[in-house]
Structure formats: C-alpha cells, structure tokens
C-alpha cells in the first residue's frame, strides 16, 4: 500500500506532507503519521490497549489541525503512550471528536522526539483528489 504521507526537508526540523480523501481521513492520517515517522514497534512488554476520546475546538480549521496534532503529542508523552489507531467520530464547525487507541510506549523504539507541530508555513487545502496538509514539526 502506498503511504498517505511523505517527509520533506527542513533545515532544523521535519516537514510532513499528508493526503486524505476526506477531511476526516486527512486528520486521521496526519495523526498516525507523526507516530509512524518517529517510532517503531519492537517489543510487546505491555499488551494493554488504551482508548482515549479527544475533543478539540478552535477558531479555524488550521488551528484545529495544529491543536489536534499537539494534543496527540502531548498526551503521548504525558501518559507514555503511542497512538496506533484513530477513528474520527465527528469533524464539523472547527470542532473534532476522535477515538484514539494507544499502547504502552515501552513497546516501541522511539527514534525522534517530536516536540510539537508548528504553524510555520502550514498548508491545509482541498485538492482535486481530496485534502492535503503540510506541517513542520519541531524535533
């Protein structure tokens, strides 16, 4: 299967370009991409899966997108979890509800610590094939 994201060059940090057929898919793919580029599943030290409902509201779609990614990163490091499955329950009027499944960070080799997603040169647009986002992550 072709990846729905790619990494692009940025001198100090990492940029990702993500695609989705729908806006919901774009949010889901972007959320999963930040963990896929920074971690690799290596062990099964803890079989337990944790499900977290994330709710976010913002003034604009771009703000919502950045807040969403940062909430995932923040929860990941605060709780010691890596998210591996995401279901967007609702995405309308710049508000989002998603069900996110994670497992213990100890099951993963974490290669890069992503500090946050930034607004710098953020792109979020509808294309003829769906939706596209470009975001620079501080690492």
């Amino acid at each position: 299967m072709l990846k729905n994201y790619e990494v692009f060059d940025h001198t100090a940090d990492i940029g990702i370009r993500v695609k989705g057929k729908t806006l919901e898919e774009l949010f889901k793919n972007s959320g999963l991409a930040i963990f896929e580029i920074s971690t690799r599943k290596q062990f099964t030290k803890n079989k337990k899966h944790t499900q977290i409902i994330i709710k976010q509201k913002a003034d604009s779609l771009k703000d919502l997108f950045i807040n969403w990614l940062n909430e995932l990163l923040s929860l990941s490091y605060a709780k010691g979890l890596i998210f591996h499955a995401i279901k967007i329950i609702k995405l309308e009027n710049n508000s989002l509800e998603a069900s996110c499944t994670a497992s213990d960070i100890l099951n993963y080799k974490v290669n890069t610590e992503i500090k946050a997603a930034t607004y710098h040169q953020l792109k979020l647009e509808e294309t003829k094939d769906g939706w596209l986002a470009e975001v620079i992550l501080d690492v």
């Binding site: 990494v7 692009f8 060059d9 940025h10 001198t11 100090a12 940090d13 990492i14 003034d59 771009k62 703000d63 950045i66 807040n67 940062n70 923040s74 490091y77 605060a78 709780k79 010691g80 960070i105 080799k109 974490v110 290669n111 890069t112 610590e113 500090k115 946050a116 930034t118 607004y119 710098h120 040169q121 953020l122 620079i136 501080d138 690492v139």
Partner: protein, 483 residues
C-alpha cells in the same frame, strides 16, 4: 534558496533594509562573512529575519547570528528586543519549545594523558548512569508539590537536595533561578510531562561531551579561569524537556487569539505574541520562567550525575578531580534587560532564540569572579569538530543586546542526513579521530553528523572578528553521549 538583496555594512554584518517587506518596523542585521552567507542563503532563514522585524515594539533591528538557520517563526540564531513601554511584545515562538535549552561547561584538573585509556569507560558509564533518549525518566523522583518548588527555585532546589554547591549557582546565569516564576500559570499537562524528567538529557541534539583544550587564544583569561592546553573539560547541553514544550504549546495556542485582540500583524502565526504588559504576556513570562528554572535544575542534576560517574570510574572525589563549573548559559529564553537606546535607558524584552547572552566586563549581572573578564560564553560545535569558550564584550551590549551565537547551526536537514550518511562508517571515522560516541539511537548519530552542521570554527571566527565575543580557548571532543 533566498535571493534577498543584502546591503553590506562591513565584512561581518549585512542588512536587510526595512523596505524589503511592507510591515517591517526595523531592518534585519545578519552577522556573517561571505562564506557563511552562502549557507545561510540555502534556506528560508533570511525571510524569517525579515518576518521578526514585524513584531510590535521591536528596537533597532531584527538580529541574526552567524549560526542562523531556518526555524519556525523566528530563525534559530535570532535575537529581537522589544520596548516594553512602547507596547513591545513577547512571543513564545521567539523562545521556542525547548525553553532554556542551554549549555554548561566544567573544568577538571585532569589532562588528556591522565584519562586517555579511560575515555571509553567514562563514555559507557555516563551513557548508563545519565538517563538519555526520548521520554527518558530519571532516578530523581519528585511529587507535584516538589515539582512546583523546582519551578521557583531552579538549580537552587537541586543544590538544596545535595546535587551540587553554592559555588555552582554563582556560576550559572541568573544563579540558576530567574525571579518571577509563577507555578500557578503552568498547566496540569505541563506538570505531567515534566514529572520524572529531572536529571535527564533528552534526545536530538542534546549531549554530554568529554573534551580536551586543543588551542588557547587568550592566555590572560585562561589564567583567570585556570585553563590550559591539554586540560579536560566536560560540556552538558539540555533543556526543559517535556515541561517546557508544553508551556510553549499552551501559550502559542493562547496567543494566536491575541493577534486579533491587540490588532497585531505578523506574517507567520508562529510569531503569535502579546504585549509584555498584557495579562497574556505576563502569564506567558511567568510560565516561561518556571520552565527556565526547571531547565537549570535539570542541568544541575545532570552535572551531579556526571560528577558521580567521574568519581566511579576514576576513583577520586569530584573535588579532587577539580570538576568545577565554569559557567551555564541559556540559549532559548526571553529576558527583561535594560539598555541605552538613543541616550535613554529602556527596559526591553530580549528574545534569544538560539542565541547566548554575552555580557561584557563590569556588567552588574555577572558574579564577582567574572566581572573583570566578562561573561563566559559557551559555543558547542558538532561531535566531530570543535567547541569554544569565549567571553562577552561591551560591543555585544552596544550592538546585539548583549548576545552572541549559540552553536554551529545546522546546514543539512535531518532527512537529508539520514539519506546520505551511513552510521557505521561515521562511527568508524569518528573513532579514527579519537572520538568515542554512544547514542540511544542510530538515527540520532546520523542526524547529528558533523556534515549536517556549519563549521563552528567559521561561526566563532565571525563573532570574534565582529567583536561581540572574544575567543578564549577551543576544545575538541573525545567522548560524546547523545540522547
């Protein structure tokens, strides 16, 4: 590639005129020579220097040091001061996610010949005893109440716990605790992210390095500092870990609203800001200071662990080994400082985003021991070349709000490094140069490869020749621990 037309001021300074972009309140000034300028033009850093010039209340110029490279919002290697009484703003993006990322250097009374057979032991023991890597947790465990104490007391908390001495505090910027930290404006999530990370190195470009002095430039200053050719030094580079990242995220999110509220026009949302005197500005500074203090406590704990490792491997107390702190500086911070602007004393908010404070001799902020020579300025390079110790100058106070560069500065992206460098070949090459490297991940080794950085010797040469800091001595790495 940037095509911005630059005006040459002198051999080491270039100007982006105010007319470059409508909305710039001041010009941009870049410290660089022709050689470094070629690298600087490779990415979008110069555009970012121009963008910073939009900040309300910005004074004199949007400054860039020779290690400048493309960041997000501010360029890395950027300095901007805003006039608080004239509606000057503070921007979380002007400090960055890793608040008070900084570096400290210790001297020893050891020479290369004393430890040349023990470097591998030291590196491996440092790697096992000093927690490093993503999300690493330390042995220094604290509860929420004590975490709040760390946010106020900074390195003083660590010294109170027995992880160092009063002398260490005297040799730390702000004595290891900046006043005005307000733990009540730090979010629960930030506390949660900071928990159990005291005394951890972190990942990415953070490191712990054993070095040897291979060149002395200023004999007099070296004598004052008791430094000599062949002497071993130790450098520690780390920051505020998850707590700082969360503070920056919380307030960047909040300050996006301030752009409309205070009618602020900036070309990049990552430059979101609020007047220093607004409730939002004050809250951010209160939280930023907490993260800064956390970082000073962290580096103090890291130094304590380092001293313990030297004791363990070399069998003498750290005092006998002469592992004394020379200085500790922040290079991601906003500070309220006073400067003379056009004959008037002004209170400014100085953002140093990848820039080091470089106060000259006589500055009242300096401890007595450094009043004569100026503030020690620590410039780490990459793991294959050199690092430097410099001292600040009066010219830095006059020209750059007492600031200087902070490192070599990246020139190659992490992804490009990963594509083109083989970790095994690199490790072998470094080892053939007498450098032992131990890292949590192979990717880190490649991302931090010397060729991913500008040559620190070129960068330091510019700040020295421009007169904003003075070279004291140069070190080369012997053992490197990467997070």
């Amino acid at each position: 590639m940037s095509e911005i037309l630059l005006e040459k001021i002198d051999d080491f300074r270039w100007r982006i005129p105010k007319s470059y972009k409508p909305g710039m309140r001041v010009p941009g000034i870049i410290y660089a020579d022709e050689k470094l300028l070629k690298d600087i033009r490779q990415d979008k850093a110069l555009e970012q220097v121009a963008n910073v010039a939009f900040l309300p209340g910005i004074v004199n110029a949007s400054l860039a040091m020779p290690d400048i490279h493309w960041g997000y919002g501010f360029p890395i290697g950027g300095v901007a001061a805003t006039d608080i009484e004239e509606g000057g703003v503070v921007s979380p993006g002007g400090v960055g996610f890793d608040i008070n990322c900084g570096v400290r250097i210790l001297k020893t009374n050891l020479e290369y010949k004393d430890i040349k057979d023990k470097i591998r032991d030291l590196v491996y023991t440092l790697f096992s005893d000093v927690p490093s890597g993503v999300g690493s947790k330390g042995d220094i465990k604290v509860g929420t109440k004590e975490e709040k104490e760390i946010l106020i007391k900074g390195a003083k908390w660590a010294v109170g716990k027995g992880y160092g001495t009063e002398d260490d505090l005297d040799c730390t910027e702000e004595n290891g605790a900046i006043a005005g930290a307000d733990p009540d404006v730090v979010s629960e999530r930030a506390y949660e992210r900071g928990k159990a990370q005291s005394g951890t190195l972190g990942s990415g470009n953070h490191f712990l390095e054993i070095q040897v002095i291979d060149q002395v430039y200023d004999r007099q200053v070296c004598d004052t500092l008791n430094l000599n050719l062949g002497q071993i030094t130790v450098m520690i580079h780390s920051g505020s870990r998850g707590l700082g990242y969360q503070v920056c995220e919380d307030y960047s999110r909040n300050m996006v609203h301030c752009l409309t509220k205070y009618n602020i026009n900036v070309p990049d949302r990552q430059l979101a800001c609020a007047p220093v005197n607004s409730s939002e500005g004050k809250a951010y500074l209160g939280a930023m200071k907490c993260a800064a203090n956390y970082a000073w406590a962290n580096r103090q704990c890291l130094m304590h662990l380092t001293r313990k490792v030297f004791e363990k491997v070399l069998g003498s107390s750290w005092q006998e080994l002469g592992l004394f702190l020379i200085y500790d500086v922040a290079h991601n911070i906003a500070k309220i400082e006073k400067y003379n602007i056009n004959g008037k004393e002004k209170k400014l908010c100085v953002h140093r985003k990848g820039a080091t404070r470089a106060f000259g001799p006589g500055n009242p902020e300096l401890p007595d021991r450094y009043k004569k020579i100026g503030q020690p300025v620590i410039i780490p390079g990459d793991m294959g070349r050199n690092s430097y110790l410099l001292v600040g100058t009066q010219k830095a106070t006059d020209e750059t709000f007492g600031s200087c560069c902070h490192g070599a500065g990246r020139v190659k992206s992490r992804t490009a490094a990963l594509r083109s460098i083989n970790p095994d070949t690199l490790l072998k090459e470094l080892e053939s140069q007498g450098i032992i490297v131990k890292a949590s991940g192979r990717a880190t080794i490649v991302e931090e490869a010397p060729e991913a950085y500008k040559n620190v010797n070129d960068v330091v040469s510019v700040v020295h020749n421009a007169g904003i800091a003075k070279r004291v001595c140069r070190m080369r790495p012997l053992g490197v621990i990467k997070g």
